[in-house]
């Protein structure tokens, strides 16, 4: 009803004041319409611009660097104050030296690579398993009813709980490690996709149907791209779960045949009561996690969100 009264007022205005603002458009005809339209478009067009590099450095790089410097300073201070004996609380320099020693032994890159390649392979397998699983749970009602709650439950079960079972099944082999990694990562990836599909605007699904995107074509052209932001969040979490499950498995399942990853390095440090090495290994594990996030997931996620105008 509001629209009608508003329009009536418009009408009265035109009747009362002929030769008003709208007269010029009438005279100009088609050109007037195109011009009016161009004006409206120009007035109401947004363009997204990228931030200049200087500001980016100041706002995104400087704060974390300052935070790290601050933490290192506090650590050094605690060391100087002898809050704990040296063998329990080494200085940053001692940890650095321990890592440098590993570096000169020439084994550290191999250790890192062992873990990263295992984590990546486990993550890729989890991706291949978790994606169709997530789609099934999201789109097939009986499947969701049957395993949806179990899948969410599995996500909160610490995957380290699977290590004893996996060792009993597979012994001290790679299979044990990959089992634990998969049980950690698959639920996250599947649940991420389910959340992504659930958050799709139903209007997009209907629009897809109207233009003929049904069945597999609907899946490919509408459902998957629409679910992408949630899916990527799930992948990110899936990687985090892969990585921490892997560390748990490597820490517990140590044997010569399993080679030496970061988890085993940690365990070595513990058995020699070598606190600098333990802290060094923890730092390496943390740095690998951060590097993968910054180099792989963050750019992909930013790109997807920026395309959709979900990022300023």
């Amino acid at each position: 009803m509001a629209g009608t009264t508003e329009d009536r007022r418009d009408g009265e205005r035109t009747a009362a004041g002929p030769g008003g603002g709208s007269g010029a458009d009438d005279a100009a005809g088609e050109d007037g319409l195109a011009g009016l339209e161009a004006g409206l478009d120009a007035l109401d067009t947004r363009t997204t611009t990228r931030q200049p590099l200087g500001r980016l450095l100041r706002e995104k790089v400087l704060p974390p660097v300052l935070a790290v410097v601050l933490v290192l300073g506090l650590w050094q201070l605690a060391f100087e104050l002898h809050l704990k004996p040296d063998y329990q609380l080494p200085s940053p320099k001692m940890v650095w030296d321990a890592l440098a020693e590993e570096w000169y032994k020439g084994t550290i890159l191999g250790v890192v690579w062992q873990s990263v390649s295992r984590g990546a392979l486990g993550f890729l397998v989890a991706l291949v398993v978790g994606t169709p699983l997530g789609l099934l749970v999201a789109r097939v009602k009986p499947v969701r009813a049957a395993i949806g709650p179990i899948l969410s439950g599995l996500q909160s079960l610490p995957s380290v709980a699977w290590v004893p079972a996996a060792i009993i099944w597979f012994g001290l082999t790679d299979a044990t490690i990959y089992t634990v990694v998969l049980l950690g990562a698959v639920p996250s990836i599947a649940n991420g996709l389910v959340a992504g599909v659930d958050r799709i605007d139903p209007l997009h699904l209907r629009a897809g149907k109207v233009i003929g995107a049904t069945g597999l074509r609907g899946l490919w052209h509408v459902l998957l791209p629409a679910a992408l932001p949630g899916y990527i969040a799930g992948l990110k979490q899936g990687w985090a779960f892969s990585w921490r499950s892997l560390m748990a498995a490597e820490l517990i399942a140590t044997s010569p045949e399993l080679g030496s990853g970061l988890g085993q390095l940690l365990e070595t440090g513990r058995s020699y009561q070598d606190m600098p090495l333990v802290l060094g290994a923890i730092l390496l594990i943390l740095m690998v996690g951060i590097a993968i996030e910054l180099l792989i997931f963050a750019p992909v996620e930013r790109r997807v969100l920026r395309q959709r105008g979900l990022l300023r």
Partner: protein, 269 residues
């Protein structure tokens, strides 16, 4: 009788290819269409023909079942009873919100509709440019949906609907969310495009002026349940303007009728 028999022949909601049939005298035919959601009857015994090339507006109070009716014609939902026949293939549908895919550029949105229509890849780019030109958005091909204004989004959505090359265009209050000036401009564009493409249009609105401004025929739907209450032929020639006196005159008459329909519910409840 022959057309009725033809309508019987089709399975409900079938959209057969246009070439396989003798040309029927309508772009859409609804016969005794009813729709209920659970115990609530929304639409009751709707009978409506849209002639080829005709522009029909469907007018009714909020919640009377206009969107439900369009969804039925679009094949997004099935009628509880009655037959719907759309001989020209899958109808195009434009929503109140633009419903463009935000993961694609404006041009790619249109190209996706062209692809799903079966147009070969080599022709899609050019055809998308032509359609963007038709809605006066040449050059917006690479724009992201969020970079466009509300009016531009609706024009891209119109271009995407036209990309389906359907002979029936369904529009569900496509301009309701726009400001008055932009809406005026899009009325002019739609009238021009309708005249150029000779597409049949079934346009839903609750704005009486808009209905009279655009249509050759205005169909008034009653509420609860939705029935066809009255129809008006709109004889004035296009181009019209929403502030024309004859548009205003007929609008007053139709508004009276619409208010009567709404008042009737006040007495019943």
């Amino acid at each position: 009788m022959t057309t009725a028999a033809l309508a019987e022949q089709h399975a409900r909601q079938s959209h057969p290819a246009p070439s396989s049939l003798p040309e029927p005298g309508y772009a859409a035919r609804l016969a005794h269409v009813s729709k209920s959601f659970g115990p609530q009857q929304i639409l009751d015994d709707i009978g409506l023909d849209v002639a080829p090339g005709e522009f029909v507006t469907l007018l009714g109070a909020s919640g009377c079942g206009k969107s439900t009716l369009l969804n039925l014609v679009a094949g997004l939902d099935r009628p509880s009873a009655g037959e719907i026949d759309v001989p020209g293939g899958r109808p195009a549908l434009m929503f109140q919100e633009h419903a463009l895919f935000p993961w694609l550029t404006a041009g790619r949105n249109i190209e996706l509709a062209l692809k799903l229509r079966g147009l070969p890849k080599s022709e899609r780019r050019e055809e998308a440019e032509r359609l963007l030109g038709l809605v006066r958005l040449r050059g917006a091909h690479r724009k992201r949906v969020h970079e466009l204004s509300g009016g531009m989004r609706q024009r891209v959505a119109l271009a995407r609907a036209l990309a389906q090359d359907s002979r029936l265009l369904l529009m569900d209050e496509p301009f309701a969310a726009l400001d008055a000036i932009t809406r005026d401009v899009l009325h002019e564009e739609l009238t021009r495009i309708w005249a150029e493409t000779k597409v049949s249009v079934l346009f839903v609105t609750h704005n009486v002026r808009e209905a009279v401004r655009l249509a050759q025929r205005v169909v008034l739907l009653s509420s609860r349940p939705g029935r066809i209450a009255r129809e008006w032929e709109v004889g004035f020639p296009q181009p019209r303007r929403i502030e024309d006196t004859d548009v205003a005159g007929l609008s007053v008459e139709i508004t009276e009728q619409l208010r009567g329909e709404i008042r009737r519910h006040g007495r019943h409840d």
